[in-house]
């Protein structure tokens, strides 16, 4: 069995800080003092309060082999380059922070500053390290107007291609008009809206089915439900009629639920047209035109071919899937493994063409020399 040797665009790679102070030094002095002086014996974490007990996940939710002598997993560029970028022939890599859910830090003023500090830290310390690195602005989504200003302030940077929305501090679905200033700024700056699961806030779940009481519940169902809820909300609120150039990248919610959701949205809209009078097309058409979905964590059916059969019920779904590894998290998907699951005719699109199309990137120059399908076939 061959390895995948074609170009890889990986749209979900978590670069982490080794020490919170790595990021805290990008904060205004007032907040640096807050972190450093408030309680030196029990430092305030940079993360938002979490409802998930990550200690229940093996290795703290991080791949065990990434706990080495080079600092916190994901914090060392050299290790990341060896483990990921060079090993898998990365063409471009989208850095997605430690989920980017700091907008859910309970103090809204601090949340905004931490989001800003994270983006500055990435621009200053990560992007210069490797030409393959691209990233997102961490949106202080609790204050959408402030987030929009931040997007316009930094959105001209050619290495910034998206705006990361992870936490949901307003406890409103993401299609809600409260969030529209963010989408307006993204459309104006031609940046993708990038959604990533969050463990810090599950407002909609609290309201409907209760907060998960175990890590199993959280991982098994709330990832998918967050993704489904976000997609259906953006479509049904008419976000894409209001911002017709807006593009959305959905990370780490899985993809197995997508055909069912697309069918059900189309089915329901026929019955509930009065509610969605702003829509001019079927919901599934908006999904196919505006969205891309990261493949990880790829559902592991008893037979991999059954996953492909399910996905293939949506015509053109291979044009909206983008490979992602989720490095260095415990649910990392290996590129070779994913290449074996997807049909030969999908691989180029999933591994780089779809992401390049979304971000208006040129195709890799090596594409003609080492097309993944040829490499796979030749090695058999």
């Amino acid at each position: 069995m061959s390895k995948y040797t074609g170009p890889v665009v990986d749209v979900d790679v978590h670069q982490l800080w080794n020490q919170p102070s790595d990021v805290q030094r990008y904060l205004p002095k007032r907040w640096q003092d807050y972190y450093l002086e408030n309680n030196p014996h029990a430092p305030i974490p940079l993360e938002a309060p979490s409802i998930t007990n990550f200690s229940m996940i093996p290795s703290g939710g991080l791949r065990h082999d990434t706990w080495r002598d080079h600092g916190f997993p994901g914090s060392d560029y050299g290790v990341m380059r060896t483990d990921l970028l060079d090993r898998y022939n990365h063409y471009r890599t989208l850095l997605t922070y430690s989920l980017g859910e700091q907008s859910a830090i309970l103090n809204p003023y601090l949340a905004t500053e931490v989001c800003r500090a994270l983006t500055e830290w990435c621009i200053e310390e990560w992007l210069p390290r490797d030409d393959r690195f691209y990233t997102c602005i961490v949106a202080p989504s609790g204050q959408p107007e402030v987030a929009a200003k931040e997007i316009r302030r930094l959105g001209d940077n050619p290495r910034i291609v998206g705006v990361l929305l992870s936490a949901n501090p307003l406890n409103r679905p993401f299609g809600d008009p409260n969030y529209h200033p963010i989408y307006e700024a993204c459309a104006e700056m031609d940046l993708a809206v990038v959604f990533h699961p969050s463990s810090s806030d599950l407002g909609h779940i609290k309201a409907n089915i209760g907060t998960p009481g175990s890590t199993i519940e959280f991982l098994a169902s709330t990832f998918a439900t967050q993704g489904m809820h976000t997609v259906s909300s953006l479509v049904s609120h008419g976000v894409f009629e209001k911002y017709p150039t807006l593009k959305v990248l959905v990370l780490e919610y899985g993809i197995g639920w997508l055909p069912g959701l697309m069918w059900r949205m189309d089915h329901n809209v026929k019955q509930l047209q009065a509610e969605v009078s702003g829509l001019k097309r079927m919901p599934s058409e908006y999904v196919l035109e505006h969205f891309k979905f990261a493949t990880q964590p790829l559902e592991e059916f008893a037979r991999h071919s059954d996953l492909i059969k399910l996905l293939s019920t949506v015509d053109g779904i291979e044009d909206i899937l983008c490979f992602s590894s989720d490095y260095p998290h415990i649910s990392t998907d290996d590129a070779d493994y994913v290449a074996r699951i997807f049909p030969d005719s999908w691989r180029e699109r999933v591994f780089y063409r779809n992401a390049c199309a979304m971000f208006d990137w040129p195709l890799p120059e090596s594409e003609a020399m080492v097309a993944p399908s040829e490499a796979l076939a030749g090695a058999r």
Partner: protein
């Protein structure tokens, strides 16, 4: 029985997976309570190396709260997704459909020998399509 020398016993640290090469073969050696276990160095889940993984005793619970830790039945834990395999048999305790090939190993005069000819089949379910897809896979890392 043809035993091949693959490593010096002193190279092995208790409970720390060590990957050795013999020709084109890669084998993960694990020293546990002064016994050396040998498995093919390919996790059959996503075909990655066990290097960087860890080991642990088997933990069983015959009833709620009746937890027993069996130190004489060690498991190797894949570094990527924490899938667990019996070091003696290669049986996967995470998904019963998988097994990694195990080899007899012994230590003589400070050298670890492995019998690659007598390795047990890595897979239990012959009709498991996914296992068949990775049957000949090589590890990504190591």
């Amino acid at each position: 029985m043809t035993m091949e020398a693959v490593a010096a016993f002193d190279e092995l640290e208790e409970g720390v997976p060590f990957v050795a090469t013999a020709g084109r073969r890669k084998v993960v050696l694990t020293r546990w309570l002064d016994t050396v276990y040998a498995l093919k160095d390919v996790c059959p889940h996503q075909s990655v190396s066990f290097l960087g993984g860890r080991t642990a005793p088997r933990v069983v619970a015959s009833a709620p709260g009746a937890v027993e830790c069996i130190r004489t039945s060690p498991l190797i834990i894949c570094p990527w997704h924490a899938w667990r395999f019996d070091l003696e048999t290669g049986d996967c305790t995470t998904s019963s459909k998988f097994r990694v090939k195990s080899y007899p190993a012994e230590v003589r005069d400070g050298t670890v020998y492995v019998d690659f000819e007598r390795g047990a089949s890595r897979r239990r379910a012959a009709d498991d399509v996914n296992a068949a897809e990775v049957a000949d896979a090589e590890p990504v890392g190591a």
